[in-house]
Symmetry: C4
Amino acid sequence: MASDAAREETARGVLTPAVYDYFAGGAGDERTLRDNVAAWLRVPLRSRAGASCPEADTSVELLGSHLAAPILLAPVAAQRLLHPDGELASARAAAAAGTVFCLSTRATADLADVAAAGGSGPLWFQLYVRPERDGTERVLRRLGPAGYRAVVVTADLPMPGERDREFRHGPIPMPEGVGIVDHLGSLEPWFKPSVGGWRATLQWSDLGWIAEAAGLPVLVKGVMTAEDASLALSHGAAGVVVSNHGGRQLDGCLPTAVVLPEIVEAVAASVPVLVDGGIRTGADVLRALALGADAVLIGRPYAWGLAGGGQAGVEEVLTELVEELAEAMKAAGSASVGAVGSAVLA
Amino acid sequence: MASDAAREETARGVLTPAVYDYFAGGAGDERTLRDNVAAWLRVPLRSRAGASCPEADTSVELLGSHLAAPILLAPVAAQRLLHPDGELASARAAAAAGTVFCLSTRATADLADVAAAGGSGPLWFQLYVRPERDGTERVLRRLGPAGYRAVVVTADLPMPGERDREFRHGPIPMPEGVGIVDHLGSLEPWFKPSVGGWRATLQWSDLGWIAEAAGLPVLVKGVMTAEDASLALSHGAAGVVVSNHGGRQLDGCLPTAVVLPEIVEAVAASVPVLVDGGIRTGADVLRALALGADAVLIGRPYAWGLAGGGQAGVEEVLTELVEELAEAMKAAGSASVGAVGSAVLA
Amino acid sequence: MASDAAREETARGVLTPAVYDYFAGGAGDERTLRDNVAAWLRVPLRSRAGASCPEADTSVELLGSHLAAPILLAPVAAQRLLHPDGELASARAAAAAGTVFCLSTRATADLADVAAAGGSGPLWFQLYVRPERDGTERVLRRLGPAGYRAVVVTADLPMPGERDREFRHGPIPMPEGVGIVDHLGSLEPWFKPSVGGWRATLQWSDLGWIAEAAGLPVLVKGVMTAEDASLALSHGAAGVVVSNHGGRQLDGCLPTAVVLPEIVEAVAASVPVLVDGGIRTGADVLRALALGADAVLIGRPYAWGLAGGGQAGVEEVLTELVEELAEAMKAAGSASVGAVGSAVLA
Amino acid sequence: MASDAAREETARGVLTPAVYDYFAGGAGDERTLRDNVAAWLRVPLRSRAGASCPEADTSVELLGSHLAAPILLAPVAAQRLLHPDGELASARAAAAAGTVFCLSTRATADLADVAAAGGSGPLWFQLYVRPERDGTERVLRRLGPAGYRAVVVTADLPMPGERDREFRHGPIPMPEGVGIVDHLGSLEPWFKPSVGGWRATLQWSDLGWIAEAAGLPVLVKGVMTAEDASLALSHGAAGVVVSNHGGRQLDGCLPTAVVLPEIVEAVAASVPVLVDGGIRTGADVLRALALGADAVLIGRPYAWGLAGGGQAGVEEVLTELVEELAEAMKAAGSASVGAVGSAVLA
């Protein structure tokens, strides 16, 4: 996705500085933000002769869904700040591309409207656990009937990171009629990037009642150590997402590409391991798979596609990435995702 | 403290070039000055899920004082060059923040006036040993009655480093009525950064009579090797400060973050180990603690705060750093300073 | 060849952007393109005193040909886009310099015309295997009678890399009367850099009928792993060329200097090992020899020489490189190519 | 010597581009030129407390001469291109500073005139071995009577490096009455940087008759490997100079700081080991000593001093370096040159 930079430039041109900085920025000096990207590039690939692999199949099975490729749309908040169609456009694009759209708690569209838009595409729901458990349970109980297939609990947010680029703008006003939903019928007309009330209330023991209320598999997002992976598994997680919140929380923490192998080893194939952070090309996806991930999530790349082109922009991003992954798999001699192994790496 | 650079810029705008260069500059090509900062960033952190650590307590006990956080104000000379309130403002800010202010021998305020300003905050006194032992003893005997709790002997200054940025300006004239005190009643109206008479007179055997004259614990500042740490301990030091004088002495020597572990090992918890040099963020403080330091000292960051905002400016620096440290501790899964261990590091 | 950059600048001045970008560009973010060059520079040389080696002989025997130096002209497509004399000029320059010109399948001159121009110089032919085996066989049968001495089968092209710099220009129009030949009498007046029909049709088992049809030794170009080297040998390859297509295919794959030793070890001297990619100076050639290569191929450097000066420009490039190699061999204490060993490297 | 860059800037202002480029330039892309400097900076120093070393003595005995510091003036050709006083000024400055001036074969002053100017200071003579042995012997026989104490044979020059920056200017015209001497009474009015006739004629066996003709100890300059150090010793060398000709010969060869330990080990203290290349500060000298060198030579730094200030300019360079070395030794806890050991290094 060498055109990722071009898409970001286009998005920057159509967004207000406050909105652009919210989506582009990271914590502190943005070292982890940059290092997330750079760390994938430091994983060298061994390229095989074409004769060794003429075709490659990118499709996978993931938590009961058949996906065209192991590339999912990560939860991204407040997408109507990027484009009038917001989360509806992204859900449609994911469905068209045969992959998962993961809706954010802090969306600008109700979960049922997104499900209606996404049609038959697989949908997941990202959850910040609120202090008031009652409201959260009511949201969770809506998911299954609306067609969602998994809950992704964000566990890496004890408090918002020091995102200077973002915070200096203050709360971002919303367009007329747009707001942050609570998935229970009400709506907040300002977007306060700092997530206030949610901070630091998730306990490991919460995973149980979340799974029960939703009746869905629960993945834990924000796992960066073998210890937390083991804690998540022992509390019933159906999967883990290796993530440092896109470099938006603890600046200076390790990039996800570096910690991924430690977590893969701790999980030992008992549940799927996903990873996000800095994935920009099909070759990056191949690297993640070779390091043991079952799938990846992308965030900023599709946000720029959404800003610049709505649903079509997001589809273009996914199409390019899947094509690049297929090429990279062939160049690496892997005919299927299951065949991608550590022999791909130098 | 991503705003550290902004504060330095503000300070640069209100100071004369000669004064700015004195505080900002380092020895030689300023490689150690830069490397002090960079070396902390090379220590990667492992970030834990929020569920693993909802709260963090930054307070510590240090040499008999209870501090709100293990972040002290390092001795910085001639602070009335930075702000009319000089050392008084810094002492008040440290007291308000619940931490130590360490007064420089080469101050622009008498030690008793600083003690009066600092109220109940813990005060330390930094000492250059002068050739005339008699004067030094008279200063040391004033410390206890004035409320000081420790003496920090600077041991790393055989002669002034080649600070080109500083020395090209020559002696710096002082504002009317301001001068470098001798803590015995007289005052010098010019500030000569090169410390002339003090050079290379400290012997390890001096630690004994210094402690006796002051009746206070004596820490040795400027320890950069296990050998010197052992020598300091065997001569009765109550603590060591790992320091290369902020990169102002031997350019090309190792950064403090790199030598810290060797000294922690040599000291083996018999006395506190402090460290300074290049610490700019709460995550840097966390790194120092994880590498075995008991506390850190900051210098230039609060000098810029003082230049730009007097006491309030220094308080802002401390408040930000303590908040950042608390955040970093939670993100690293450490509920208390004592709980910070090497598991925090990758 | 410190003048390589100057030659590229000259070439850039005389070529259209589309043509310049086709020859200069690489895949993706062009990381492998850059790393190919940088990787040679990371191989440090040990320089010997002049007394240890007063003279150096650069000549070699390679697949039955005596060459003045182990520096060959790599297959480069569509050379009449660079200069009106195109492949004829390059073949003449190689003959004058006593080395091999390797003609590309996708040339702008028929193989017989090139052979006539190249006179007695050794000629090789590079082959993309087409789906229609019949046409390929007819081309191969022309090679021996025309004087070609080896076939170089490109094996690293399952599909064209994502060469943004190149592809954004679209197909490149050809000058009047110029076109891409098929070596069977017809000619295509547009140059479509993406090689469409040829993609991913080479099977390892094809090596057999290729060698039989041509009656010539077959080298496999695009070997980047020990596995593929072994596969090539077991299917009868008479040599391997370590190549990542000049960084034009899988961006992010290892540079050729890094994988060369692994392939040299796998081949174990049973056939010659050649290498291309990023070789810009005689010292780079020395490094390749010291890492175990029998010879190197250069691509872009002579393309720039051709663009700027036709045959004389290519000869200048070869003369400079051979002189530099002789100097580097003496500086490294190697009197002959056979004497270059790993003692040359640090 | 942070003022080294300033001196080079001054020199650049007073010299013609051709002359500046001759002295400043290196071979090829000037990688070794830059790396020579950078490699010293990568050797980290351990700084000791001032109490551990109040004073330092920089003096040394070297091949029978007592020197104020182990810092010698390297042979630099054609010094009247830099300043009208040329080699006479440099010899006087070295004598005043109590160190060795090593005169180049390709000087602009006869060796006797230099000896007269240099007074009682120790003088060495650098030799390129010419094909006509007779002339060389006559020069060598003049050395002892004129007061020279050693011969330094340059062994690293099989042929001139590809110094683009230098060669593009062609031969440099000399001021009226100035020329390159042959130390036998005649003089050449043009300076051709490429040394033509001398190339590649030194044999190891030449060391014997050189020593006999001169009746002086012979050092070999240009040793970069243990092998060549052993060859030099077995042919009677009284010392070796680790040198890559200041990055002017084989670009890409290792920097001298990197190969020094291998040669120190091979020589095993049987004769002195000197080193040049990229030494710019007293801390660099300390590093060289700690890595096992007995002394260092500086070239470009004093050339810039000579260009800007004649004898006084060269003296200033030496004074600064010796002061810096003394400071660095104290900071490293070394009271004498003999006491500098590997404990200084991290």
